[in-house]
């Protein structure tokens, strides 16, 4: 399949309530043409509701939705011309693989020869060439997933929606399909909106991620910026592991346990409000002797280590009583260097990885 055209999506002030529950709360979102955008959030956050609004299955209370220049908010689902991969795949059990993929083409009244050609092409695209006459219930989970994908792209929609398409697959296959979906997106180039609750999947696949909670977009950013510079505590906790320590402000300086913190260069400290220091376990390091570079130092005592194969986690009780953990790569040296429980430990954090967040009291 050739790289086709794609359309930008503009979502404006879309609200959907179920009784008193606000599934979507004045959501604004622009999806760029050809972009792979992921809606990431916990269950009940509204991410699936938003996808269903895009597909036309959920009618919002208000809002505007543009595919390109065209307003589609009131358009029936069968007239929207968007491809969709369902979480359940929704492959028609009374049709074989080829008939499933041909379904959208038959509805568009394409000539039979053209349909045959495009079905075969779509099967090749998802690496299922020759599977056309299989019955759906003869396929494995991964194969069904590919057929669902082939059916969603065979009519060359300019927008592709995916609702947790990999959640039913086992871990290895899921990771394999993540790569494949991403490659397919690069090849076909259609604007893709992908829903998942799996943060690693979102980080792996997306151009940008919209983190959703309580029907609102908490942050819209590239995977790297989301992880490195979360906008708030919710995003920091939802993506990756994180721990928080209270920070006080005094005369324009940020104090942790009364000692000033070194902050990233060029970043002025926040002006007011209670603050939190975000700690990622893999960004902490054990410090012995005098560090070669300037580091923020935390003093504590080792409180046990856990071996996890490729990595280890060391729990540390800080002098103030808070517990933090440190993750390191396993090797003979690092494992041998792990301190005994109760031994004093000094943890170091580089200034450029010292991220302060407003404490919203959650």
């Amino acid at each position: 399949m050739a790289r086709g055209a794609s359309l930008p999506i503009t979502i404006r002030e879309v609200t959907k309530t179920y009784g008193a529950f606000r599934a979507l709360d004045r959501v604004d979102l622009e999806v760029r043409s050809g972009e792979f955008l992921t809606l990431l959030g916990p269950s009940g956050s509204g991410k699936t509701t938003l996808l269903m609004v895009l597909a036309g299955f959920t009618r919002p209370d208000q809002g505007s939705l543009l595919f390109g220049e065209r307003e589609v908010i009131r358009l029936a689902p069968h007239k929207r011309d968007v491809g969709m991969v369902f979480q359940s795949y929704a492959l028609f059990p009374h049709m074989d693989v080829a008939a499933n993929i041909a379904f959208p083409l038959r509805l568009r009244r394409l000539p039979a020869a053209e349909i045959r050609r495009r079905v075969e092409e779509a099967l090749e695209t998802v690496k299922l060439g020759g599977y056309g006459d299989r019955r759906v219930d003869q396929l494995s989970g991964g194969q069904r997933q590919r057929v669902a994908l082939a059916r969603a792209i065979v009519f060359e929609p300019r927008i592709l929606l995916m609702d947790e398409p990999l959640s039913a697959l086992d871990k290895q296959l899921r990771e394999h399909m993540q790569t494949e979906l991403r490659q397919l997106h690069e090849r076909l180039g259609m604007t893709t909106v992908y829903v998942t609750h799996d943060q690693r999947e979102a980080l792996t696949m997306s151009d940008r991620i919209a983190v959703i909670d309580g029907g609102r977009i908490m942050q819209l950013d590239s995977p790297r910026r989301l992880y490195e510079e979360p906008a708030n505590r919710f995003v920091a906790e939802f993506i990756g592991e994180s721990q928080f320590l209270p920070v006080t402000l005094s005369e324009g300086r940020c104090l942790l346990d009364g000692r000033p913190l070194l902050l990233p260069e060029g970043r002025s400290p926040p002006e007011a409000g209670p603050l939190l220091l975000m700690l990622r376990p893999e960004r902490l390091r054990m410090v012995t002797g005098t560090p070669a570079e300037p580091l923020n130092l935390l003093q504590g005592r080792a409180a046990g280590a856990v071996y996890q194969g490729d990595s280890y986690v060391l729990h540390v009780e800080l002098a103030g009583g808070a517990r933090v953990s440190l993750r390191g790569v396993s090797s003979a040296e690092t494992l041998a260097a792990l301190p005994e429980a109760g031994a004093p430990v000094t943890l170091g954090l580089r200034p450029q990885e010292t991220i302060l967040l407003a404490d919203e009291g959650t």
């Binding site: 597909a55 036309g56 299955f57 029936a76 689902p77 069968h78 007239k79 929207r80 011309d81 968007v82 491809g83 969709m84 369902f86 359940s88 929704a90 492959l91 028609f92 059990p93 009374h94 049709m95 074989d96 379904f103 959208p104 509805l107 568009r108 019955r135 759906v136 219930d137 059916r151 009519f155």
Partner: protein
């Protein structure tokens, strides 16, 4: 310590397995006996009777008579016609009803199903006589219709084919609706969403996706209705007024009037064979359907 095979308990485990099978068989023995006593023995006895001539000798006399008399052929034809018509009308009425129920929220669907099932809790005889009251010349429907000036002469609604069909459809409808409703409920809504997403409007989504997926339930329900109709006695006897003669009624006359067990048994055997043949054909049809991938999963 004994070494080798004995220590692995192979023969003992096999013996345990045999004993367990025997115990399970023992548990099902009462049911097997019951079926034997109330099903196999009487049917076998009828079968035997149908081959006995009036003087007690073995003969095909009863079957010969049935084959030679055109009146018997007419009775079988009527039986199949009435059963087919009842099944057809049940499908026409029952499919939309089951569809409506399957689209309702479960709570409401439950209430409506209760209404569908309500007739089951009344005696068949009472329901049939109730139809007689409603449909007869001076019945509720005719007197109201004439009162309102919709028609001048009483319509012949009962003691004929029309009355028979009305009564039978009313009684048979739940047998169609229940399995059909079940199979429609089991159809994942995602299939219809997918159909819409791929470009099918509501009408085409129904014909191309919903109807094929509901077919197994429809075949099941229609088969039950048709087979029950084949042996139906009370309702056609009362509402048909002697003008609609079905096999079951002829069997009753043979026994009550002529005390001819042989003739009645022969009719019973033929009806049973025809029913089994139909059931076999229907199951082939259903399997064909499964082969095409039908079924709501």
């Amino acid at each position: 310590m004994a070494a080798g095979a004995a220590a692995l308990h192979g023969p003992a485990l096999a013996r345990d397995a045999r004993r367990e099978r025997a115990r399970l068989f023992g548990l099902s023995l009462p049911a097997v006996l019951l079926v034997l006593v109330i099903m196999v023995v009487p049917v076998g006895w009828l079968f035997w009777l149908s081959f006995l001539a009036d003087d007690g000798s073995l003969s095909l006399e009863h079957y010969r008579r049935i084959a030679q008399h055109p009146s018997y052929f007419r009775i079988f034809r009527t039986t199949f016609e009435v059963s087919l018509a009842t099944t057809g009308i049940c499908i026409l009425l029952g499919y939309p009803l089951a569809y409506l129920l399957s689209q309702l929220p479960r709570r409401w669907a439950g209430l409506c199903l209760l209404a569908v099932l309500l007739p089951f809790w009344t005696s068949l005889l009472v329901r049939t006589y109730a139809w007689l009251v409603l449909l007869q010349r001076q019945g509720l429907i005719n007197s109201w219709g004439m009162e309102l000036g919709l028609w001048q002469e009483p319509l012949p609604l009962v003691h004929n084919m029309a009355g028979t069909l009305i009564g039978m459809v009313h009684i048979m409808l739940p047998f169609l609706v229940l399995p059909l409703y079940g199979s429609m409920r089991a159809i994942d809504r995602d299939y219809l969403k997918a159909a819409a997403n791929l470009g099918a409007g509501p009408t085409r989504a129904f014909w191309l996706v919903f109807l094929p997926l509901s077919l197994p339930g429809l075949v099941a329900g229609a088969t039950i209705v048709f087979i029950l109709c084949l042996g139906f006695y009370v309702t056609p006897a009362i509402l048909g007024g002697g003008r609609v003669i079905m096999v079951s009624m002829r069997i009753a006359t043979d026994i009550e009037l002529f005390f001819n067990w042989g003739a009645a048994s022969a009719l019973g055997v033929i009806l049973l064979v025809l029913t089994l043949a139909f059931l076999y054909a229907a199951s082939r049809l259903a399997r064909l359907d499964r082969m095409l991938g039908g079924g709501a999963r």
